[in-house]
């Protein structure tokens, strides 16, 4: 697919298989190869239980492959401990989940500031200004001081996206970001994600079961029974 001059993939999965131990071991994904390039807008689709979310968790270093390797900016991660993987998540990756997963006691602004405070690169005023700027970009600056319980589903999801962007990640991984939203809100969220790619050059990988939304991605990865059926690797070596 890509020639020798193609850019370095931001995320890569090489020959990854994930098996969950138990009385009956369950294989979530098997022998998966996938690479995500800068500025790509990638959708992942597939039937329920096919391994879409599991693939996303492996890409986001939230889970470890039983076999295989995940590389972030070309660096293997299998030898890293949990703290080191947490650091990569904090600095390079942003997550959006189907359920917004905002901290209910914190305001929208405080939720967006959380990753910045954890990273500690900016002072408090800078953190606040950046968080407000992101909320403004997503059209919810007016709700900055509201708690998640005071926001609609679409607004919460936009706050969750704002939080994912807090530390300026190179990749945003979204697991069914519209799964819990009505059609209008889903459309808004998808447009926001699209803009992140078009205007900011971020790579977006989103899992969805909505084929019409998936069709609007630059690349559609389809996964069946834990294996990638379509839209596979942009480049996987080794």
């Amino acid at each position: 697919m890509t020639g020798p001059a193609s850019p370095q993939p931001l995320l890569e999965i090489r020959h990854a298989t994930r098996i969950i131990d138990g009385e009956v071991p369950t294989t979530l994904v098997r022998e998966v190869d996938l690479a995500i390039l800068p500025g790509e807008f990638v959708s992942v689709t597939g039937p329920s239980g096919s391994g879409k979310s599991s693939l996303l968790y492996l890409l986001g270093l939230l889970d470890l492959p039983t076999v295989g390797e995940v590389l972030v900016a070309g660096e293997p991660t299998s030898g890293l401990d949990e703290d080191a993987r947490a650091k990569i998540r904090l600095t390079h990756l942003g997550f959006v989940f189907q359920f917004h997963f905002l901290l209910p006691e914190f305001t929208a602004l405080a939720n967006v500031m959380l990753p910045m405070r954890a990273l500690g690169k900016l002072d408090e005023d800078e953190q606040r200004a950046r968080a407000m700027a992101i909320l403004d970009q997503l059209g919810i600056a007016a709700h900055a001081l509201k708690r998640p319980g005071q926001l609609s589903g679409g607004q919460r999801q936009r706050v969750a996206i704002a939080r994912a962007l807090a530390n300026d990640p190179m990749v945003v991984l979204a697991d069914e970001p519209t799964g819990n939203l009505d059609t209008a809100s889903s459309e808004q969220v998808l447009q926001i994600l699209r803009r992140l790619t078009d205007e900011q050059g971020r790579a977006i990988v989103f899992v969805t079961h909505d084929l019409s939304l998936a069709a609007r991605a630059d690349r559609q990865v389809r996964i069946v029974d834990g294996r990638i059926a379509d839209g596979g690797p942009s480049r996987v070596d080794g």
Binding site: S53, Y57, G60, L62, D63, E82, D83, A86, K87, I88, R89, L90, T91, F95, F97, Q98, F99, F101, L103, E105, F106, L114, P115, R117, A118, L119, R163, D175, E176
Partner: protein, 411 residues
């Protein structure tokens, strides 16, 4: 750290009722343990103080720890003398005034010689045995509080009548005597002596008030039938707690048995040690029970916040940061509970100290409460340690949450 503190504070402040229950648990543990320690140490100190005031700090008597070697034993090493008969009369301290002068020269305290004998006190057909102590009214106030314990008359009244006697108030009541009455003293030899009651004393120690009487030294010597007898030298040490060491040195210097107040009350003092051990065990148990409350609360918060923990970890929070959040919550409850407990403990001590209490054995108008920062620091350190431990286990569990398992479960 500020972020950790913010999250911890948000968790506990959003659960006001649970937090208050935990905080009050710690506060009551700390408060009651302070009250108990203050009460127990207060009563102990009060008792020891009464004891020390009513007795000489050190008493040098005309006894020896072991029988002195007989001249024949000194002359012939192969000889052993056994079965010597006990002397019928007390030998007294040899050269007592030389010893008194010698002791006054080097010890930090005051010294007074005295004569101790026993007699039957008879008045109005009633007899009672008493310990009659011959004293020097000028020196006596330097070694005992007798002068301040006189209820009727004065110590100097001993000089106002021939064979004057000061009785314990309970002894006087027992035989029905009052100041000014003439009583009869029956010596161990059977000799009779008429004495005039010139004063009554009340030491607060029932046994002393009921069985002791004071006379001039020469009167006691006549009663004992030994002119010039001094069989006891009493010492009041400037350093009360150093009395034991001082007694050892006096015994080495004089050769006579010197008993400090600690040695004389060894059983009592060791009973206090056991009492202290029991007290600290009970205090520790109270605080341990309080710490279970803290454990329960932190465990509940941890359980309720599992999803938030997963989110924080998925965002990139490290295990130690998550652990610190819950440890901090536990410590906040511990610190706040300790501060409230300090106030509660102080208030309880004030309240208890204001209660009037009368004992048939001792004059205690109010419960003796001992105030010391030691109790506050001790209870705080135990409470904070217990809170730390109570928070550690749930915190460790929280830190080990695997975010993907929670997120997968929620999807």
């Amino acid at each position: 750290m500020r972020l950790i503190l913010d999250i911890a504070w948000t968790h506990i402040s959003s659960r006001v009722r649970q937090t208050l229950v935990g905080l009050l648990g710690v506060a009551m543990g700390v408060g009651f343990s302070i009250m108990m320690a203050a009460l127990m140490e207060g009563s102990q100190r009060d008792f020891v103080s009464e004891l020390v005031d009513s007795l000489p700090h050190i008493k040098v008597s005309d006894e020896r720890r072991s029988a002195p070697p007989q001249p024949a034993e000194v002359a012939y090493r192969a000889l052993e003398v056994v079965g010597l008969s006990t002397p019928v009369i007390r030998p007294g301290i040899k050269n007592p005034y030389a010893i008194v002068s010698m002791l006054e020269a080097w010890i930090d305290g005051t010294v007074a010689p005295s004569v101790e004998t026993r007699a039957i006190i008879r008045y109005a057909g009633r007899d009672t045995a008493a310990s009659v102590i011959g004293i020097d009214p000028v020196r006596e106030p330097k070694v005992s509080k007798l002068a301040t314990q006189i209820r009727e008359g004065t110590l100097a009244d001993l000089h106002k009548a021939s064979n004057a006697i000061i009785l314990g108030d309970k002894l006087a009541a027992k035989i029905g005597a009052r100041t000014g009455n003439s009583i009869t003293l029956v010596a161990a030899t059977g000799d009779l002596m008429t004495a005039t009651v010139v004063a009554l004393f009340h030491s607060g120690v029932a046994q002393a008030d009921e069985t002791q009487a004071y006379v001039l030294m020469k009167t006691a010597q006549i009663l004992a039938g030994q002119i010039g007898l001094v069989n006891s030298i009493r010492v009041r040490a400037d350093d009360i707690m150093g009395a034991r060491d001082l007694a050892t040195r006096i015994e080495a210097a004089t050769g006579y048995k010197s008993v400090s107040w600690q040695e004389a009350n060894e059983d009592l003092l060791s009973a206090f040690e056991i009492r202290n051990f029991i007290m600290f065990t009970v205090v520790g148990a109270i605080l341990l029970v309080a710490s279970f409350g803290t454990y329960n609360i932190i465990s509940t918060i941890t359980h309720e916040k599992t999803r938030d923990i997963a989110i924080l970890k998925s965002l990139g929070f490290q295990e130690r940061q998550v652990r610190r959040i819950f440890l901090l919550e536990s410590l906040i409850i511990g610190v706040a509970g300790t501060l409230v407990g300090w106030a509660l403990g102080y208030a309880l001590c004030l309240a208890l100290g204001s209660i009037e209490f009368k004992s048939p054995f001792m004059d205690v108008n109010r419960l003796p409460i001992y105030y010391t920062p030691k109790h506050y620091l001790l209870s705080a350190s135990v409470a904070l340690s217990a809170s730390g431990i109570a928070g550690f286990l749930p915190a460790r569990k929280a830190a080990q949450v695997q975010p993907v398992e929670i997120i997968r479960g929620a999807s």
